[in-house]
Assembly symmetry: D2
């Protein structure tokens, strides 16, 4: 099964489920092995057990499953993503391959002002005129940076050096394989109000896949305050 | 798909594949994302790539897959198994449930003498008469220990205390979820000549499952000296 | 600096701090690098920051420190301990060396009855007469098992096979190296009321070392409900 | 003890040892606990043991130590560094704080051409005239990008959005805490001929610290082909 969620018309940003071994029963059965028991269907007792495990923070039964995602996103989003160490990553390499002409270019209405202190930031839309100017400047800069990158390659500069001029708004792509426990930790941090809006969008797509594959676990997680087990 | 490999007639010891997300293509595609490329079938180039990755010790592309095993084995085997930290475990609990009457009881021909020094041990069969005596003593002891355990429970002693008299030869069971990279590390150590024969048997069953699911990766691993990537 | 906490007169059980790189400032400075700032002493602002990090579950700043413990405990305690994967272990090997004559032998007043259901067990002292009987039976069994072990060795049976008759109450020893984040997770689970009393004793000794080395972090952890960050 | 190795006159790039719990004896003693033995000094037998462990790829005894580094480097270097999952990181945040005016700006003689295929790249100096042009263009671009960043902030754009125009050559800083086993893995990959020269410089400074703190382990690692244990 594959599923692709595009984040823009240009198809630059996406989350695609590339493979999975994930259902709610795996949670139940890895917990019930404590008693040498095993279930074959999700009944009321099984749903209750998943809720109990989540509430009591028994984390290990949520690890016996796996999701493999193929993701394309801006580098500044990927940087936050790769901080999650429990899971596996392989990424596009700007040392080995030429970077494509795809950059994060916020529309004026996406551009925001930051208010408040660390830990309690609020974001409000920037005044339309200023936002328009900022949006235009960012787009122009991306174009310029990419043109310089191509020129440096044309001069013969190694890809690994030429890339150093590219902005952190450039797109990258990667595979990410992760289990539900680590994924819930990711979602707790990256779907939070305090997360940067740009990674939040991706995290919500990931959450949609999780909810579809493991509905009981997903609901238990949401019902218990979306904290990591 | 499930597969059960029994290790004895009594069905006490087994390795059962309970779930999987594992094929050779996942290795290829997680490596090719470096170049933003993707394959849909395993051709010569793909086989060559898997071999290259193994030979050059590129470990991460071997992580984008998952095996979930259900295992029953003696506790002294499980103790070595659980030392492998990259992976997930849930096990039978002798605090919560009553231990069954299943123990490791070596037949006389399994009983061996140890010769040499650490790092270079050799094992030779014990003389038949001595082996017969040892085998009988071990079996008797298991029976006695189990009878004492049941008696302690009957006296009212908590399971978590009563279990302390049970020998490390008692059987336990667990779920183990692991990716191919960590699994190859496990196999490198536990299928080695220097591994204890009792865990080696289990590791060989695990290897058979791995070879069936990811034949190209398995062959590349064996061809490169069975060292971990 | 080394510190040894003995758990019994016989010196069989102990927790010894063998090395450390641990202070509260490391928490502060690894958090303040977010702002390219650095503190050299723990003032009110620094204490406040540690509390903020704990309350908000910012886990990573608690990882930049290290404790190395040398522990001797019964095997059934070590089994629970080794389930904590974030950290490093090296343990005594009953394959390589002869096991000593040291076993968990509960005094009558330690012996308890278990009441209630999993997740909500209560333990009450066993009636003195029954407890006396149980205590004696356990001690006798340990002696018997050890005598059998020695006899099997005398017959020539390999250590790795002879050990299979030894009860899980036998003592083992190991080194454990861990950072404060993982240590707090260990303490949350193993100092809890629901933990088995025998590991709880050890966990409380570990906590005492932690409190001495990182008093501000320890207090913040206790004040915030002793939940893992 | 602290040690700072600067990588440039401007002090932009550095590796500073911020804390440590690291000596060769910790390797010896965590290995010898297998036999319930312990050493207090490094004699010939101890050196021999470290070599044996390295040669035979016994990895765990190399984990009972810890190094805490404070590093400042360009973001494209940090990106490779953070792929090493066994260890702890805390980094400067461009969401919370204003980025400084420090960028990777290669001198003409550092600029190179890439030849060959992935896995077998060679690098040769770029012709001086072209290198001069490239060096100038990169510097100018950094200035321009930083000026745009400051202008966006002045317009009121949130730091987390304004940063998206900054090139991956910008400097960041972080704390990294790691044990010798993971550090040797890092060094194996990042001091290799095939590593990008810019991270290689940093890795060599890290290696110098490692060699000073754990000379026997470092030598054993180098003598055994610098492969990870």
């Amino acid at each position: 099964m594959t599923q692709t969620h595009d984040l823009d018309q240009a198809g630059s940003g996406f989350v695609r489920l590339d493979g999975h071994m994930a259902d709610d029963l795996s949670v139940v059965n890895s917990a019930r092995v404590s008693f040498a028991k095993r279930s074959t269907t999700m009944g009321d007792a099984e749903v209750g057990l998943v809720n109990f495990l989540m509430r009591e923070r028994h984390g290990t039964p949520f690890e016996h499953n796996s999701f493999r995602f193929h993701v394309s996103c801006p580098l500044f989003v990927a940087r936050e993503w790769f901080r999650h160490r429990v899971g596996s990553f392989n990424e596009f390499s700007a040392r080995y391959a030429e970077v494509g002409d795809r950059f994060f270019a916020p529309a004026p209405q996406q551009i925001r002002r930051q208010e408040g202190k660390p830990g309690a930031y609020k974001f409000v839309p920037l005044e339309p005129e200023l936002a328009g100017e900022a949006s235009g400047l960012i787009s122009d800069h991306n174009e310029q940076a990419y043109a310089l990158y191509k020129h440096l390659l044309w001069l013969g500069v190694a890809k690994e050096l030429a890339r150093t001029v590219l902005p952190v708004g450039m797109f990258t792509e990667f595979y990410w394989t992760v289990n539900a426990r680590s994924l819930m930790n990711f979602l707790s941090l990256r779907t939070a109000e305090t997360a940067q809006q740009e990674i939040r969008q991706y995290a919500l797509l990931v959450e949609a896949v999780f909810a579809e594959m493991m509905p009981v676990t997903h609901k238990a997680w949401r019902d218990n305050g979306s904290i990591c087990p």
